[in-house]
Symmetry: C3
Amino acid sequence: MTISRRTVLGTGLVLAAKPWRAIPNAAAAPASAQPAVARASSIVVPNGSVLPSTIRDGVRIFHLRAEELDHEIAPGLKIKAWGYNGSTPGPVIEAVEGERVRIYVTNALPERTSVHWHGLFVPHGMDGVAGLTQPPIEPGKTFRYEFVLDRAGTFMYHPHADEMTQIALGMMGMIVVHPRKQARERVRDFCLMSHEMSVHIGTARPDPLAMNDFNVLTFNGKAFPATAPLVAETGDRIRIRLANLGPMDHHPIHLHGHAFEVVATDGGPIPTSARILETTVLVPVGTTRTVEFVGKAGDWALHCHMTHHAMNQMGHDAANLVGVNTKGLDQRIARIAPGYMTMGTNGMSEMAHMQMEQPRNSISMVGGKGPHGVIDMGSMFTIVKVRDKLAGDGDPGWYQAPAGTTATEATADELSRDGIKVT
Amino acid sequence: MTISRRTVLGTGLVLAAKPWRAIPNAAAAPASAQPAVARASSIVVPNGSVLPSTIRDGVRIFHLRAEELDHEIAPGLKIKAWGYNGSTPGPVIEAVEGERVRIYVTNALPERTSVHWHGLFVPHGMDGVAGLTQPPIEPGKTFRYEFVLDRAGTFMYHPHADEMTQIALGMMGMIVVHPRKQARERVRDFCLMSHEMSVHIGTARPDPLAMNDFNVLTFNGKAFPATAPLVAETGDRIRIRLANLGPMDHHPIHLHGHAFEVVATDGGPIPTSARILETTVLVPVGTTRTVEFVGKAGDWALHCHMTHHAMNQMGHDAANLVGVNTKGLDQRIARIAPGYMTMGTNGMSEMAHMQMEQPRNSISMVGGKGPHGVIDMGSMFTIVKVRDKLAGDGDPGWYQAPAGTTATEATADELSRDGIKVT
Amino acid sequence: MTISRRTVLGTGLVLAAKPWRAIPNAAAAPASAQPAVARASSIVVPNGSVLPSTIRDGVRIFHLRAEELDHEIAPGLKIKAWGYNGSTPGPVIEAVEGERVRIYVTNALPERTSVHWHGLFVPHGMDGVAGLTQPPIEPGKTFRYEFVLDRAGTFMYHPHADEMTQIALGMMGMIVVHPRKQARERVRDFCLMSHEMSVHIGTARPDPLAMNDFNVLTFNGKAFPATAPLVAETGDRIRIRLANLGPMDHHPIHLHGHAFEVVATDGGPIPTSARILETTVLVPVGTTRTVEFVGKAGDWALHCHMTHHAMNQMGHDAANLVGVNTKGLDQRIARIAPGYMTMGTNGMSEMAHMQMEQPRNSISMVGGKGPHGVIDMGSMFTIVKVRDKLAGDGDPGWYQAPAGTTATEATADELSRDGIKVT
């Protein structure tokens, strides 16, 4: 896959220096002169990429390849996923309102597929429901979709053939259609797509039959601590386009330190009169929610608030030993179950802090390195890093709080002065 | 049960030729002259019916009978359900704002019941909470509820006694109260109630203890491919009144090809200033959501976007064999488990396309016949069929897309012209 | 723990006689003259309490103690919970917009903790994410948080260290920040926080690993029939501040007999133009929803509409025997499983009405005593009791409906007059 220089796979984050508006002008040039990769993009896809396009006779042309691929959720856990052009979710399709697009879809999977353009208004025959609006794309075949993008917004693409399997294995992507008329205000514009999978410990294939017990939850295909931060400057308008294709859970995405306005769904922009402020937006399955806010300096957690969606694989199935005296238990159980190790008698935090031996191809329940020790989170957890002034486009490291503004241990004098008795 | 001629059970769809407004005038005639069945209704209940009523002394009178019944979810799956007047969900109660209604409820179940009028403002004693606002209706007894409908909208009815069992087995229905002042614009007005059940393979009794593993999801009691389409003409204003009584899931209902406005909840109409556009509306348990949009020509999927809610019984519990070479596995397992058949090594789509021998009283995971082959969907999936001109009230068959507007295989010339390399 | 005289633990309900406005004036007095307990509060916390505070040099000072505690869910079920200051949820933190607060947090748990002030705008270092914004509070330590409350609203506090365990065991609380300018209208102002736990039958420790099968659902830590009612007078404006910290379910909270306006989230007030009426508000995990309505006389159910969230522990795991003839089954099974008793062959209501022998430390699936017999509900179910005139602050008992306004058995004459045939 050809990767635009403005996007990043896996680590770090590159901010767009040039706005998207370069594209329509470029389209006026002779088609043969068009570059083979996308021009300057104004969106940022943490851990992901934008799908390259070319322009020919005024039509923007894309090529999606549905295929099996190896994907790393976080160091330690690799899965056999299905996706597009080497990644899950697939690259973001980016275009401008009013453009005609032609999207070729090659099926390199072992079974039929199709692509539905979720939220776009396309003719019946381009809607991508295999059996209903088109024949399925058989393995090895390439289909052509073509339509005009009649409105701006944040949309999605996914198969509409054997959805249970294909979505479960990772086939999904976002579509960003920019308005023809550019906003005057500069915006930090992020795309974040959630997913949930059940990857049984020691296996590499997400289980498409899982309905409830998801244990790997991701933003743009990555679980914390592998999620790249969202970087901005103090006072920037920050836009996050949240997308959820399920399969089963409506995710409440919470941002620390700010309230945001929900400004659009995949149905359209939300009029000012209908907007509400939230600190947690529920993103139902099969929807996008675009939120905007002005950044304040700090490192601000952004995560799904369902507690089991902010932790990784291990722990969901273990016995409840909180408060249990397990002295000697390991040895006794180990006689019948070699390698057994009790966990969590004082809660689970201790787990994140010990160097446990991980089962093959699995990741710790929680735990990323932070500036103040271990961060007890996993899966759908990432960080919005806002700095007064950014030096470059990369990860700015940890926030240095001004002196005296961090919670610390209270001194005996303070406790005494304020009449606090600690017992 | 007497069925109004304007409603349909099981297949097809009859559109109302006359508006609901006939009813208030009818009420002015002498009570003795009233017909025993409902007059022209302006709502359409796919796969369902409207509850007949009579008028006496200006009071609209209904009779609900809570009872066990045999119900077909889709050809191949029959269940022993509980419902009202022979169906699950029960018939839609339809009336006009300001009317006084008297509803008799006969309990033909083996246990106590009651009826709560969800969303209606009724006096405390008519609220239907057994034990709290009234004694329960014992088996064999008939109770009388009476109140004035003080506002228009879309509401629901269900038992408020042993809810876990009675709702799980199918006891629920919709209530449509039309505004006294009729809108000038013609509206195609559909009622669609969702439900979810756990019917273990080979059994016929929904399991009321199921909390998570629902495997039969329905619109108006039917699972795709048995769901009747919603039929309209191009340019029609289409209203869909979505209702959800659970028991446990908030359903994100997605419409293809259109964005709709959410215009009302069971709390009341949504003011214009507060309306937002969506392509997927989340309908939480215990709510109604009324959506409106203008139809475009085509066959447009309307479905719950949770992937396991758009598939039927089988498949949720099987082993994950995607990518596994199962050659010879069937024979080996068959020695210990006669009849065993592996499935889904290349995904699940193959399942929909083979003539599997189904277990007794069960339906395929997915699969309805479409114009372009098998439609890989089940359960909460139906089709909004919009035609430029309808010939009659029935199912218009499959949409014929204009030439050149359907996704098809790309030719070698096209691929070459557009610089697409298929590998 | 010192308890304000205006709050109530466990039973009954005390209404505030004096408004909250006393507090800012009090703050003007010399710090040394401040009382050690909170002054008159204008909020009511059914089954809960308000956290005492003192004022010193214009700073409002609180002290939270994170600790293990014994908690009664309802008579018959006691759990070993984790909470704050002796209760789960912890006491409500109440203050006024613009106030500077200093909150000491003592960790009396066996593992690290921290406190995140969900929805408040605090400096990065006060945000409470262990590892990211501060070091964790080690067992035995007391930390000091300090910040200014820059806006009014309903917020929450909870640990941001080993959330899965600490939230599952009960660590959470609400924060109410009153506007500086008091509203002219009197409001009955209630705080209600939901929680869900999995307490396996016969155990006392909530299982932090539970993801789906919650069997104890609570409002302010109590399951029906132990939930205290919300009491008001006819015509009162009633405000209910609903808060949900999960861990996993978005609760649809339904009120009978009224529609309410959703007036605020934890992000801020909802502008009038964006408000909608509902009878059921979905409260996603990690959010607050404040609703307001004018009370009508009666006893009105307020409950989660997910059927398994309005029932208690038993029943979720039993066999489905609805419609099964179990005659003789008990005796036969009892030979191999002593004490076995079949249940629910005619539905589950019969269970609520028999005097079953409960397993040790467990509560019936459903069942509270009502004025008309057993109320078949449990868990997240409570009652809003509205009376034309209240005699005092306590529970006013059951509502006496005016004669002729309660659903009752229909007489033979009525059935004959209205043409109803009961078969």
